[in-house]
């Protein structure tokens, strides 16, 4: 059985993204790691809150755990930031904005619009889109046979 490696050898990947951009990505991963510590660790250690089913918290905690790897391999862990960008954009377009435009006034909604709604803008600026386009979309698919 033929064996193959990732078609883009790791040592080639880092040359196309400037060093300052790697630092921006790492800084964001660091914000995740440190911020998540205060959000997720108390929840993980606490007795479970019986009024919640916990899946949402577990998903966000899963993203937090993987963001540790982003400090070392910011480019390889870009799917985590794509995840953040996409889920917040989906929420904004399909849930937040329609409710806001329907005239709903609710402090919780305003807070969510600020916190979640800022996500697509922040991650939109941080993600190196040229790199994402070349490696995750346009690159020849990994082998099929």
């Amino acid at each position: 059985m033929a064996a193959i490696a990732d078609p883009v050898p790791p040592h080639r990947r880092d040359d196309e993204v400037p060093l300052w951009r790697l630092y921006v990505l790492r800084a964001m991963f660091l914000v995740f790691v440190v911020g998540g510590f205060f959000v997720h660790v108390p929840w993980l250690l606490d007795d479970p809150d019986l009024t919640r089913r916990g899946m949402l918290d577990a998903m966000l905690a899963g993203l937090w755990v993987l963001s540790f790897l982003g400090l070392r391999y910011p480019l390889q862990m870009l799917p985590i930031f794509l995840f953040e960008f996409v889920w917040k954009a989906i929420w904004l377009l399909c849930f937040g904005l329609p409710q806001w435009m329907a005239g709903r006034v609710d402090p919780q909604l305003s807070e969510d619009l600020m916190l979640i709604g800022a996500g697509p803008i922040v991650f939109g600026l941080i993600i190196p889109w040229g790199y994402v386009w070349r490696h995750y979309v346009k690159a020849p698919a990994e082998r099929w046979r």
């Binding site: 916990g54 899946m55 949402l56 993987l66 400090l71 480019l75 862990m77 929420w91 329609p98 969510d112």
Partner: protein
Amino acid sequence: MNEVSPARLWVMRIMYLIMALGIGLTIWPSIVSHDPALPRMTGVAWALIGTIGLLALLGLLHPLRMLPLLLVELVWKAIWLAAFAGPRWLDGTLDEGMRTTIFETSFGAVLLLVIPWRYLWANYVTRPGDPWALRRAEV
């Protein structure tokens, strides 16, 4: 040691396909059209799960490069089972909905067979990290 067989890539692609189709058929219709008075947490949960389905499409093309997505799946399910379902099971406070979710979440264990662990180890643990400083000119 970072080599992955074509058969493994196929197994990974099938996994991504199941994720994309499953979420595409069950969650996306609700995202596209739903009751405006939906509880807040439900909207957030659907956006998160919907994202997994969307990014799984990229995994069909690039199964290895989207490996972090499979890791997210594995890790969140493990966290949920260990930190949330486990204590309730020990307490004997599981309800019917929780039992169903435990059953469904346990399918995440398939990922243990799908993920190419040697590749993961070689590329996400032992490989030198991305650069921290400008390299010296090649000599």
